[in-house]
């Protein structure tokens, strides 16, 4: 480890209603791989966005190569040598590898773009990284892993001194990860400062020199990786806070029937051989890291994406689900993690959204019975305590929590017995979270069967009767709440599967 190249001190950043970063510190030295860890929503990405100029910080200082700096956009940061390799790739699929790497700063020969030189330079970059990618290959034809390598090559070509990897391994295979690590070590040995954001405990131990842990937007501490254990880091990540009334035992009534059985479900790379059962009156938590395939499993189950193989049984009867229509017909309701895109029609009113899934029930022939619609919408506004001036209000004007309640009302109107909550409290403030939790418990007590996908450990432990853990598209464990701890869930979620 060399001298300090980048220091972030007392970084503070608020968004309306959220204190996203609370005086966070980070120090990166030349020739080190510095892990930045924390649960989803701990503020890691926000911190990096502040660094690279995507967000403007409220207070605090950034010192880079001995000088205080403030980048206004990614371009400025790039030119100074601070480059981020995004989790979602920013690529031009139709262009070649070399064309992607040098987009916006092509080599020229007269008016002609010197593709030959660009290919040579790209080749040199790949040689430096000791990998083989044909610079002339079309980007979209590469595997995700190779595309990631190209992003890294692009970062290096910017004469980067600090490279930030934002969950680089999320979509990579075992072999690709190894290749990635080799490159990262090389870069480190060349004296670059590396920030490595990841959830995977095993990787952290393998690749990083130091670890900075964040929790709820605040700085927790920095450790030297080789001097600490996995458990130390997990403890720092989840803290020692005691959660309000977490479930300690399974609240599902004894002998309650299985309403949903999923048998060896396969749907693409993210859903491999997933099987589980769901009982009446139960809250089944789905835990796992980002990209573990939980949402994909739910979408396949709901018919939103095609199923390759596997059987679904509802109340003991085998059913075919080919489209959301089929799923809804069989009494499944899906509350997406991305409400604005998949949950509600924001330009329509509360009442219109409430009856969206069950309009037949509110129609006399082709005509909509607006009185009945309004009455039911009002009933749900009241029973769910949705804050809206009237049911005629457009949903776009409601807060996140209230929008979520509108989606819940939609499925309750349809009288669905199986409700899939995908990240039910994402983007919802603390007070409203509690309400949503209460509501879910009430629904379960009324005999609904609930699947809850959540990336928040506290939420999983607080709400679930049983927990299914997924990792890389496979189910890696199933726990009763009485035996679940944060540590053993985290263990399953990061388990290597071979």
């Amino acid at each position: 480890m060399g001298e300090v190249i980048l220091t972030m001190k007392g970084i503070d950043k608020s968004f309306p209603g959220v204190h996203a970063l609370d005086h966070v510190d980070l120090e990166v030295r030349k020739g080190e791989v510095h892990a930045l860890m924390g649960e989803n929503g701990a503020g890691k990405s926000t911190l990096m966005k502040v660094l690279t100029g995507i967000y403007k910080k409220d207070s605090g200082t950034i010192t880079y190569e001995g000088k205080e700096v403030e980048f206004h956009n990614t371009r400025e940061a790039q030119d100074a040598g601070v480059v981020i390799v995004h989790q979602e790739l920013n690529m031009l699929g139709h262009l070649t590898v070399a064309q992607n790497i040098f987009i916006g700063r092509e080599f020229k020969k007269g008016i002609r773009i010197d593709d030959k030189k660009m290919n040579e330079e790209a080749r040199k970059l790949f040689d430096r990284m000791h990998i083989d990618i044909d610079p002339k290959e079309t980007m979209s034809k590469l595997t995700v892993g190779k595309q990631q390598m190209c992003e890294i090559a692009k970062a290096i070509s910017h004469e980067a001194k600090v490279i930030i990897f934002d969950e680089p391994s999320a979509a990579l295979t075992e072999a690709e990860i190894e290749e990635l690590f080799k490159i990262i070590r090389d870069l480190r040995d060349q004296g670059l400062g590396i920030v490595y954001i990841s959830h995977r405990m095993d990787e952290i131990k393998v690749i990083t020199d130091r670890v900075t842990v964040m929790r709820d937007g605040a700085y927790v501490g920095t450790l030297i990786t080789k001097d600490c254990t996995k458990d130390d880091i997990i403890n720092m990540m989840v803290g020692r806070v005691i959660y309000e009334d977490p479930k300690t035992k399974n609240m599902t009534p004894k002998g309650s029937p299985v309403v949903l059985k999923v048998d060896h479900l396969n749907a693409g790379k993210m859903v491999q051989d997933v099987s589980f059962e769901l009982h009446k009156g139960e809250v089944l938590g789905f835990s796992g890291l980002m990209g573990a395939g939980r949402t994909e499993t739910m979408r396949a189950l709901f018919g939103a994406d095609p199923i390759e193989s596997g059987d679904i049984y509802i109340n003991g009867k085998k059913v075919t689900i080919k489209s959301p229509q089929d799923a809804v017909k069989h009494g499944i309701g899906y509350l997406s993690e991305d409400r604005k895109r998949f949950g509600i029609v924001v330009q329509k009113s509360v009442a219109e959204n409430t009856t969206m899934a069950d309009l037949d029930e509110f129609s006399n022939g082709p005509f909509i019975n607006k009185k009945k619609e309004k009455k039911v919408a009002e009933k749900f506004v009241e029973s769910l305590a949705t804050k809206t001036p009237s049911v005629d209000q457009l949903v776009v004007n409601l807060s996140g929590g209230n929008q979520q309640k509108v989606v819940i009302a939609k499925w309750l109107t349809r009288n669905c017995d199986i409700l899939i909550f995908d990240e039910p409290t994402r983007g919802i403030d603390v007070g409203a979270k509690n309400e949503i939790y209460k509501l879910m418990n009430r629904l379960a007590a009324e005999g609904k069967a609930i699947i809850m996908v959540s990336s928040e450990m506290t939420e999983i432990l607080r709400m679930s009767d049983r927990i299914v853990v997924m990792c890389e598209g496979k189910k890696t464990g199933e726990l009763d709440i009485s035996e679940a701890t944060q540590e053993n869930i985290m263990n399953m979620a990061t388990r290597e599967i071979n």
């Binding site: 709901f302 939103a304 489209s323 959301p324 229509q325 799923a327 809804v328 017909k329 899906y334 997406s336 895109r341 998949f342 949950g343 509600i344 029609v345 924001v346 330009q347 329509k348 219109e352 969206m356 899934a357 309009l359 037949d360 129609s363 082709p366 005509f367 909509i368 607006k370 776009v396 939609k410 349809r414």
Partner: protein, 324 residues
């Protein structure tokens, strides 16, 4: 300005529609002055209404498609195709008039089904579909009529009774029918399942699909309604202007779309106003009549409607940008 917008009465009627009505009246007054009073009489108004009938149906038709977030600019040529082919059936094959009228509706419907199926079930972009069906409509009509124009019977002639749909003496029957059908359209769009789904999927198709709704079916239904209304438009076109020539009709696309977007229907889908569309159509018709009355080049009409659409759509783009 803001306080006017907040006035409950204004809110109920719609600020946009009030402005459009004022524009309509001002235009009328302006034409009256410019033509030295020539405009001040039933003759000009009836003539403008003749134009408003078929354009009104076209505009209503395209309103349904735009509500889903799509576009159809085959409506003009398809209208001509309907008028030509059914007229040819009457004049050349001696079909009875009612049959000819029904054929017009059926052809419109067929194009609606064709467009709707390609867009909804095969994911072909709507403007490509309409480009293709525009060509097909023109070609089909030309082939069928052997590139001859078709004249529908005058009121005194055999089968001329169909003109009573447009006017009976001085009573503008067409206006009554247009208003009735516009009301039906408004009811369909605002009071029925179909309208609810059309508007909702225009706003967020994926969310509607994930609510377990058969979005393909409903998206296609909008195109079918569109086709049917185009078939009706054809009848009113020949009712007012008698003669149709193959190979034309596309100039009416823009005027129909202009009426629709001026009336407050958003090109992004999900937002449509039938009453706005009708007022928009009256403005375009009045403009057309005014240009004729003033003896100006009729090509000005093309230029002006082109500019109107650009301005109206840009206003919609700006409004949406501000919301985000």
């Amino acid at each position: 300005m803001e306080s006017i917008k907040q006035n409950p009465l204004v809110k109920k009627v719609g600020f946009n529609r009030i402005v459009l009505c004022i524009v309509l009246l001002l235009m009328y007054a302006l034409f009256c002055i410019l033509t030295g009073g020539d405009f001040f009489g039933m003759r000009r108004i009836l003539s403008a209404l003749n134009y408003a009938y078929f354009l009104g149906f076209l505009s209503l038709a395209v309103t349904f498609v735009i509500a889903t977030g799509g576009i159809d600019f085959s409506i003009g040529p398809v209208m001509f195709c309907c008028a030509l082919m059914s007229g040819f059936c009457f004049t050349m094959y001696g079909m009875p008039m009612p049959a000819a009228l029904v054929i017009s509706l059926i052809i419109g419907l067929a194009f609606g089904i064709f467009n709707g199926y390609l867009v909804a079930y095969w994911d072909v972009p709507s403007f490509i579909t309409s480009m293709a069906s525009m060509n097909i409509a023109k070609g089909l009509a030309s082939v069928f009529t052997k590139t001859q124009s078709v004249s529908w019977p005058q009121s005194s002639q055999d089968g001329g009774w169909f003109r009573k749909l447009v006017t009976i003496g001085d009573i503008p029957m067409g206006l009554i029918i247009l208003i009735v059908i516009a009301v039906v359209c408004a009811i369909v769009l605002n009071q029925t399942k179909m309208g609810r789904y059309i508007l909702s999927l225009g706003s967020n198709k994926e969310a509607v699909r994930l609510s377990g709704v058969n979005v393909k079916k409903w998206e296609m239904s909008a195109y079918i309604v569109c086709g049917l209304l185009v078939g009706i438009a054809a009848i009113f076109f020949v009712g007012a202007y008698s003669t149709v020539q193959p190979g034309y009709g596309d100039q009416y696309n823009n005027e129909a779309i202009a009426g629709c977007v001026m009336g407050g229907t958003s090109m992004a889908g999900g937002l449509a106003s039938i009453s706005g569309t009708i007022i928009g159509v009256f403005i375009i018709s009045l403009l057309q009549e005014g240009i004729m009355a003033l003896g100006l080049d009729k090509n000005l009409q093309l230029i002006i409607t082109g500019i109107i659409v650009i301005v109206a759509v840009f206003a919609d783009v700006v409004a949406r940008r501000r919301k985000n």
